[in-house]
């Protein structure tokens, strides 16, 4: 519960690979206890390489990695800390449990013998972590007898049992089936918060980035193109490349007001949005409401009876041509983009400052529950 203690992560990495790929990543982040920094980007962008260099499993040609006051790597000053002394436990996509050890032995593997005999000193002994991850019943099994989801839970328990200063997650949920993935997302997030462990998560899955991330760094072609709070980066991408990587979608942070009858009511600022309920969520839960510009329609007259559930009073604040269609940016309390055809815009005689109604179907709002 060391929520207050924020640690600064400072990363400057340069590395050339055969085949022309070059990594030149620069990243600074304030990591509170329990906070998750997401390294997001398409496959092959260099996310995993950045993570492995932070872990100390690979060396940069030139660069610096600082975590708080500790210099983990500084090529200019020939400083190099091996992975053992960094306190940064890594969890891979495919489980890497030790096959000749039982689950219990795996989980206690990295716990020094001396501290194993004083359980509960900081409230994070292996048995408690097993309980939090629900793997206590598996203690006597060997890894080969575990399902993929169970193996990843044990893997997480093994990493957290060493009380790492930083947890490194390399797409740990990517190989799991969807329901297991959703359940583990929440468990991991709450576990990180309970233990106060900051984490860096590599993923190319935007739902996972939204569900688990507090901070996000968008990695494209070996560079960190933008970094910041998740909602900020998703709503205000610096450039077209970042926007394309994130997917053109408004990401609105909100809170569930009411749920039931297949519908969720979400308060986003002063607005209330209605969305289809795809997974059960309770009132009070923090969510992101994601809306694609293609799914926003613009109405100039007040509509009659229609199936569309969301009608938002809006003002046109920008119109930009985007290929054959126009992107109309609306202010309806929050910023929302609509993609409409040029002919529609001409017929409606839209201009900047015009008062309109933005309509969004409940089924077009994708709600992501934050863990």
């Amino acid at each position: 519960m060391d929520q207050a203690a924020a640690v600064t992560l400072h990363v400057r990495l340069e590395r050339r690979f055969g085949g022309g790929f070059a990594l030149a990543a620069s990243l600074d982040a304030e990591l509170r206890g329990g906070a998750v920094l997401v390294l997001f980007g398409p496959s092959g962008a260099g996310k995993t390489t950045i993570l492995r260099q932070i872990a100390g499993l690979e060396r940069p040609d030139a660069g610096v990695v600082r975590f708080g006051d500790d210099v983990w790597c500084d090529t200019a000053r020939s400083v190099w800390q091996p992975p053992q002394s960094r306190g940064a436990a890594i969890v891979f996509q495919e489980p890497t449990l030790f096959p000749h050890l039982t689950v219990a032995e795996n989980i206690r593997y990295g716990v020094p013998a001396a501290s194993r005999s004083v359980p509960g000193t900081t409230g994070r002994d292996p048995a408690e972590i097993e309980g939090m991850l629900g793997v206590a019943d598996l203690e006597h099994r060997y890894p080969r007898a575990l399902s993929g989801g169970e193996a990843q839970r044990v893997e997480l328990a093994r990493a957290l049992a060493t009380r790492p200063r930083l947890l490194l997650l390399d797409e740990p949920l990517a190989a799991l089936d969807a329901p297991t993935r959703v359940r583990l997302r929440r468990d991991v997030r709450s576990l990180l918060q309970t233990t106060g462990t900051p984490a860096i998560l590599v993923t190319h899955d935007r739902t996972e980035a939204l569900a688990m991330g507090d901070l996000i760094a968008v990695v494209i072609d070996g560079r960190v193109r933008q970094a910041g709070a998740v909602a900020d980066v998703f709503t205000r991408p610096h450039d077209a490349g970042v926007a394309a990587a994130l997917g053109v979608e408004a990401v609105l942070p909100g809170r569930v007001v009411a749920a039931g009858d297949g519908l969720v009511e979400i308060a986003v600022g002063d607005l209330v949005l209605h969305a289809a309920e795809r997974e059960s969520m309770a009132a009070g839960a923090d969510v992101y409401a994601c809306i694609r510009a293609e799914d926003v329609t613009i109405e100039t007259r007040s509509p009659g009876q229609a199936s569309t559930r969301n009608h938002l009073a809006a003002r046109v604040i920008a119109i930009a041509p985007e290929g054959p269609v126009d992107r109309v940016t609306l202010d309806c309390g929050v910023a929302l983009d609509a993609l409409i055809t040029r002919r529609s815009r001409e017929e409606m005689q839209l201009s900047i400052g015009a008062r309109v109604t933005a309509a969004v179907k409940a089924t077009a709002i994708h709600v992501v529950l934050r863990g």
Binding site: P82, Q84, A89
Partner: protein, 223 residues
């Protein structure tokens, strides 16, 4: 039966296997995990005894440990006698001669251990040496046993190197293969056939156990 020759062979083979376990494991580890580019040179040197005639190897060892070499002179100063035609000299030659039979199974098994297991272990704060002891060794038991058994069997059957380095001193350097040669030279075919049969049976038993081990007849891999 020439029991003293047989006993000498067993002692030599045991000592050789033990020495190769102590020295071969670090060497195999280095070959597998070192990032050095020139390690193929070391691999080639380790494999040399597979193709070199035993007489060539024996000749060089004889020169290297003889009174003309610094090693031989240093040993003679400390021990009071030279290395050639002694059990110790024979042991040095046997270790070199059986090097690939131990190091190659060791390194093949080390290389088969998933590299990410080691990385996970390191990131959990466990040192490289401890990781080797707690992860690599238990997962390489079959390779280690195979290497030890093969080098034992190989030493048991060596002839040319022994003859070059050890000569033929009863109780000190006359091994079982040389005693067979002596028996044939003196036309004692009965003795030669009894000893040969024993060596054949023992070698066959050892190889059978190695191949059974490879097929996991006894040790079930827990993967």
């Amino acid at each position: 039966m020439d029991w003293s020759a047989l006993w000498l062979s067993v002692r030599l083979a045991s000592a050789t296997s033990a020495a190769l376990l102590v020295g071969g494991v670090p060497l195999a580890y280095w070959i597998v995990f070192s990032p050095r580019r020139w390690k193929y040179l070391v691999e080639a040197i380790v494999a040399l005894p597979l193709v070199l005639p035993p007489t060539v190897l024996g000749f060089y060892v004889l020169i290297a440990i003889g009174p003309l070499s610094p090693i031989g002179r240093a040993y003679a100063r400390v021990a009071g006698h030279g290395l050639p035609f002694t059990f110790e000299g024979l042991l040095i030659a046997s270790v070199l001669y059986s090097l690939p039979f131990a190091v190659q199974p060791f390194s093949a098994e080390f290389a088969a251990v998933d590299r990410r297991l080691l990385e996970a272990s390191w990131s959990l704060g466990v040192s490289r040496v401890e990781t080797f002891r707690r992860i690599v060794v238990p997962l390489s038991v079959r390779g280690l046993v195979t290497g030890i058994v093969l080098s034992f069997a190989h030493t048991l059957g060596e002839f040319g190197v022994v003859l070059m380095v050890g000569g033929n001193l009863p109780g000190a350097t006359r091994t079982v293969s040389i005693s067979i040669y002596d028996a044939v030279q003196s036309l004692d075919y009965g003795l030669a056939s009894r000893t040969s049969l024993l060596l054949l049976v023992v070698s066959f038993a050892i190889l059978t156990s190695v191949y059974a081990l490879q097929r996991s007849v006894w040790i079930k891999p827990r993967l």
